[in-house]
Subunit: 266 residues, 2 copies
């Protein structure tokens, strides 16, 4: 994660320019292939320190890729010409915990006390799984990944608390073992699975009824494999009902110049 590679920069910049100009407002899956995409959480400075401590204490669901200076709408570590206020296709603006609007830019609500967090996203490790020849079921089905609130509590920090939320991908046992190896290389995008095989042990009583996203079929020769999920910090923020907050709209991620392979620990 030292220098931003030119290949990632040119891929990321062209997509960000298209989005910034209003030319694209859809989901970012598949854009700038190979580039890291990130979850966005923007909070007033007064809450940002607690949130950073919450993320630090719960690194598997909340892997922080970058934190901005207060009021600064750039992420120089992640992209050379990025404007946090315009470069995502769609945002969600929250006031006192209620969804206030879903705009395509947030310049009109920007404040000098806002701190932005870019949080790792499973797109990066899913790309590595697919590259290895492993089918990622929800992608093969054209659905959203199934996500579940578990009975595992996060470590609380300041006002932030809540359950660990997990995403699930069904895999044959040998592929599950391979997926542990592959995703262990990517600690900054949720890393290795947190559980596999026995959903009831982590408080998931109906695998066919995810709390977020879409159900996917699980074959008789497959195990459900669970990874910590970036919805965890979003749910923790929602529970706090901050007076003001901006997030990405679901599926509408921050496209960086980092290459996914640069996140590999080994």
């Amino acid at each position: 994660m030292d220098a931003l590679p030119d290949q990632g920069f040119s891929l990321g910049r062209s997509e960000r320019r298209r989005i910034r100009s209003g030319g694209f407002t859809g989901p970012t899956s598949g854009l700038a292939p190979g580039n890291v995409q990130a979850n966005l959480v923007v909070l007033p400075h007064a809450l940002a320190n607690d949130f950073l401590r919450f993320a630090q204490a719960n690194p598997k669901p909340c892997p922080v890729l970058a934190v901005s200076e207060p009021g600064d709408p750039t992420f120089p570590m992640l992209a050379r010409d990025l404007d946090i206020r315009t470069d995502l296709p769609r945002y969600r603006v929250w006031r006192n915990g209620e969804l206030a609007e879903e705009p395509t830019e947030v310049k009109h609500v920007w404040r000098e006390d806002l701190v932005s967090f870019a949080i790792g996203c499973s797109f990066s490790f899913e790309e590595a799984l697919i590259e290895d020849g492993i089918e990622v079921r929800h992608i093969a089905c054209g659905r959203n990944v199934p996500m579940y609130r578990t009975s595992i509590p996060c470590v609380s920090a300041g006002v932030f608390h809540g359950p660990l939320v997990v995403s699930m991908r069904p895999l044959k046992p040998a592929d599950a073992i391979r997926a542990v190896q592959i995703t262990s290389r990517f600690p900054s995008v949720h890393g290795a699975p947190v559980h596999l095989g026995m959903p009831e042990m982590i408080g998931i009583n109906n695998i066919d009824k995810p709390d977020y996203g879409d159900a996917v079929p699980i074959g008789p020769d497959e195990l459900p494999v669970f990874w910590a999920c970036g919805v965890t910090p979003q749910a923790a923020v929602a529970a706090v009902k901050p007076e003001f907050c901006i997030t990405h709209a679901p599926g509408s991620m921050l496209i960086t110049d980092l290459r996914n392979t640069r996140l590999a620990a080994l």
Copy 2:
């Protein structure tokens, strides 16, 4: 695996001297803690090339740590003063596939055409699991590890063929994930598991009736996790019924000067 460390040498040498002098004829588990112990297979030169090709084609069950020169009873890569003919507590001598004797040394049957193979053993990765705080059930129960013939065929080479034999350790799901990470670091001692969770998928129909070793209890919150096992090459040799063969007696391993940590790939 470059230089043999002094610590491993002094631990290994004192145990080998005790064994060589006839002062110890039992199982080697727990001797020279931290030193690599190995399976031994000794074959006439005429069969050795086929056996080496079989091992090369099946590296998970047959990880070769060292191969001797024909007739040479030393393994300079594994230990500085080792004599293959005297330094194991107990041997098995096979003639035409039949167990002929179980002596405590094999000088009286040694031949100039014999090639020795040292094959990695699960003791090394079990030590790493225990070091990490993971209970290894058969050790906790004071039993032999349960082993099963699977429906997965090995790749044949020359006269050698046979099924993959696996060992099983029951683990809670989170420990199973951690065990994949830990044992992936040790490719020369069977590496990552080959299967977990669904024994029937690999032809194991009664987990309580292992083909070798002892059954162990599996908790309702545990998955059976399966590793490729060093009994695989022994079973392949047994099927060939070579005119002459020497192996270690079960549990009576070759103690080397290598430290287990030196086998870690990462």
